[in-house]
């Protein structure tokens, strides 16, 4: 891991603690040591990222990678996706959508709204682990957006 990658913070918006833990375990297993900031609801996550503010949040000055669950208790993940991608301070952060559904229409909608990747939480756990580990590889090659 070089220093540049260490600076990328992973923001995980996931209400299910079990899912969050499993994702984290697999990320760590892929030898990705980046900081992970977790939120279990949409409101707190949006407050952290503040996509509607005129000034970016101090946290948003760092390069972020966002893992977004679509099924949140307080708001739709699609809503959060649209707001993050619709704001100039946050639209360049890569967003990876996590969901239990394999409904092709929902997947299409996510890509239409600007999602960078889509991971189905599969019941075949080994596939899931592989996908998360590939995420580690993904982290190794993503272009970190230029910060102002």
């Amino acid at each position: 891991m070089d220093d540049r990658h260490q600076t990328v913070t992973i923001v995980m918006i996931e209400d299910d603690a079990g899912h969050a833990r499993l994702i984290e375990k697999n990320i760590r297993r892929a030898a990705v040591c980046n900081e992970i900031v977790g939120f279990n609801n949409g409101a707190e996550a949006l407050e952290y990222l503040q996509p509607n503010g005129t000034e970016p949040h101090p946290a948003a000055h760092r390069p972020l990678l966002i893992l977004l669950d679509l099924n949140l208790p307080d708001m739709s993940g699609l809503d959060i996706l649209a707001r993050l991608k619709g704001n100039e301070h946050t639209r360049r952060f890569p967003i990876i959508v996590l969901t239990t559904t394999d409904d092709s229409r929902e997947i299409e909608k996510c890509y239409d709204l600007g999602a960078n990747a889509y991971i189905t939480k599969p019941l075949d756990y080994d596939n899931f682990s592989t996908a998360i580990r590939q995420l580690g590889l993904f982290l190794a090659v993503i272009q970190i957006p230029e910060m102002a």
């Binding site: 299910d16 899912h19 499993l22 099924n71 239990t100 559904t101 019941l123 756990y125 080994d126």
Partner: protein
């Protein structure tokens, strides 16, 4: 209707019968009166004839007398010319008059006429005698002339009396005829009035009846409209309920998956953890007869893997059930796309995709007669036919060679498609059950989740149709699908949610 129909009918017929009777009476009365008037007119004519003849006879007598007078004064034979045929002519007129008078029933006529005849006869005798005396050159005495004048007076009186009697009879006849005509007029007026009144009653009856009919008709139309509205309401309610169930199924399916991800995920983590411990127990330096170590080893080697195997198998099974719920509920979310369907070609495609199973089972599928073409959703139809044919081949009997027959026909605005097999059949108690999700029939010796027929029924209903099965549970089964022949009509009528 509150008013008994029979009563209305009988009243109307009574009016018709009465009006007819009155009309017949008027016609008959008119006939009678005209006959009577005719008789009276002919009687009046008889009276005139009798008068005429009587007058004519008396005129002849007067002419004869003046003819005689002329001759007596001038001795010119030319004056005697009218005299010659006068007596016979007069007698013939008198006889004629008498016959007429007798026929008119004048009781005194024969006597009066006899007297008149006698006087006329004597007068002619007197006239002839004076003429012959003058011809012989003799004079005539006054007594003769006086006697002749008396006879004339007598004859004139009788004629006047008889004419008066005849005039009285004529007046009577004319009077009778007039009264008869008046009676006829009165009868006709009354009759016409009665018919008019009856007609008005009948008309009123008819009007009130047709008003009743109109009212009944309107009530019926309102009732029909209300009924249709209720059907529409129920359809909407059902649709709403159905949509709700589908959303519910979708949400439940979706939400059930989240905990399942944890169960499977952490079971796998546990497995990994157990695998991490396992090498420890393989070490040589371990106290193999230590009961605690033996126990822990068994847990690591047998109990944990067994528990994890069951957890994983159950979770996997639960996942496939949830997937089935999701897929069945997802069916209802896509609106059907009506398009022209060539059922024969579609069935041939399904048969081709089943060829492998058919070869394995040594079975055959044939199409009987011509399959109808209709308008429906092609993808749904393909799934319906594939599922039905797949089932037919899957549940064939081992006791006989498998034969599956597909047939179809158009019944009015519906299409019926039947898939018949000679397989093991479906027990009558399961005829409804097999269309429910996760329910299966018979010996559970074939792979399957009990999803196929639930899926088919969902699809068929989505297309505005229904499916049923006939089977004795031993010698085969017939799955019968009824569908609207034109899905566009079904959508526009609201029978199918477009």
């Amino acid at each position: 209707m509150p008013r008994p129909r029979r009563k209305v009918l009988s009243l109307t017929s009574a009016i018709v019968v009465a009006a007819s009777l009155i009309l017949v009476a008027i016609v008959y009365g008119a006939h009678l009166f005209s006959q009577k008037t005719g008789q009276l007119a002919s009687a009046a004519l008889d009276v005139s004839l009798a008068e005429l003849k009587l007058s004519r006879a008396f005129n002849i007598l007067l002419e004869a007398e003046s003819s005689q007078r002329g001759f007596l004064l001038t001795h010119d034979e030319a004056y005697l010319e009218p005299f010659k045929a006068a007596r016979d002519a007069m007698n013939s007129h008198l006889a004629g008059a008498e016959i007429q008078m007798k026929s008119l029933g004048m009781a005194t006529a024969p006597v009066a006429m006899a007297v008149l005849g006698n006087a006329a006869d004597q007068k002619f005798s007197e006239l002839e005698r004076t003429i012959s005396l003058v011809k012989q050159g003799q004079t005539i005495d006054a007594a003769t002339i006086n006697g002749g004048r008396d006879l004339m007076t007598q004859a004139r009186d009788i004629v006047i009396a008889q004419r008066a009697a005849l005039a009285a009879i004529r007046a009577d006849k004319i009077d009778q005829a007039q009264r008869s005509a008046e009676r006829l007029a009165l009868l006709t007026i009354l009759g016409v009035a009665a018919v008019v009144i009856l007609s008005l009653i009948a008309l009123a009856q008819f009007m009130s009846r047709s008003k009743e009919l109109q009212l009944a008709h309107e009530k019926l139309a309102t009732a029909k409209e209300a009924l249709e509205e209720r059907v529409r309401e129920r359809t909407r309610d059902l649709q709403t309920a159905n949509d709700e169930i589908q959303r519910y199924a979708y949400i439940v399916g979706h939400d059930l998956r989240a905990p399942l991800v944890n169960i499977i995920g952490f079971a796998r983590e546990l497995d990994m953890a157990a695998n991490a411990i396992m090498p420890l127990f393989a070490r040589q330096e371990l106290q193999r007869d230590d009961p605690a170590i033996v126990k822990a080893r068994r847990a690591i080697d047998e109990d944990i893997p067994e528990a994890l195997k069951f957890i994983q198998a159950s979770a996997t099974r639960m996942d496939s059930l949830i997937n089935a719920i999701l897929s069945v509920s997802r069916l209802g979310r896509l609106p059907p796309q009506p398009q022209s369907i060539d059922l024969a070609a579609l069935t041939m495609n399904c048969i081709a995709s089943l060829q492998h199973s058919l070869n394995e089972a040594d079975a055959s599928i044939s199409i009987e007669g011509r399959l109808p073409s209709f308008v429906s959703d092609a993808r749904a139809m393909e799934q319906i036919m594939t599922n039905l044919l797949d089932n037919a081949v899957k549940y064939l009997s081992s006791e006989r060679a498998g034969r599956v027959v597909v047939r179809g026909s158009r019944i009015g605005s519906q299409v019926r498609i039947e898939v018949e097999d000679n397989g093991r059949g479906v027990a009558p108690s399961d005829h409804e059950r097999i269309f429910d999700l996760f329910r299966r029939s018979g010996k559970q010796d074939r792979p399957g989740e009990g999803i196929g027929l639930a899926h088919v029924r969902r699809l068929v209903r989505r297309l505005g149709g229904d499916i049923s099965v006939r089977s004795d549970g031993k010698t085969g089964s017939v799955f019968s699908v009824m569908l609207p022949s034109d899905l566009r009509d079904a959508i526009s009528k609201g029978a199918v949610h477009g």
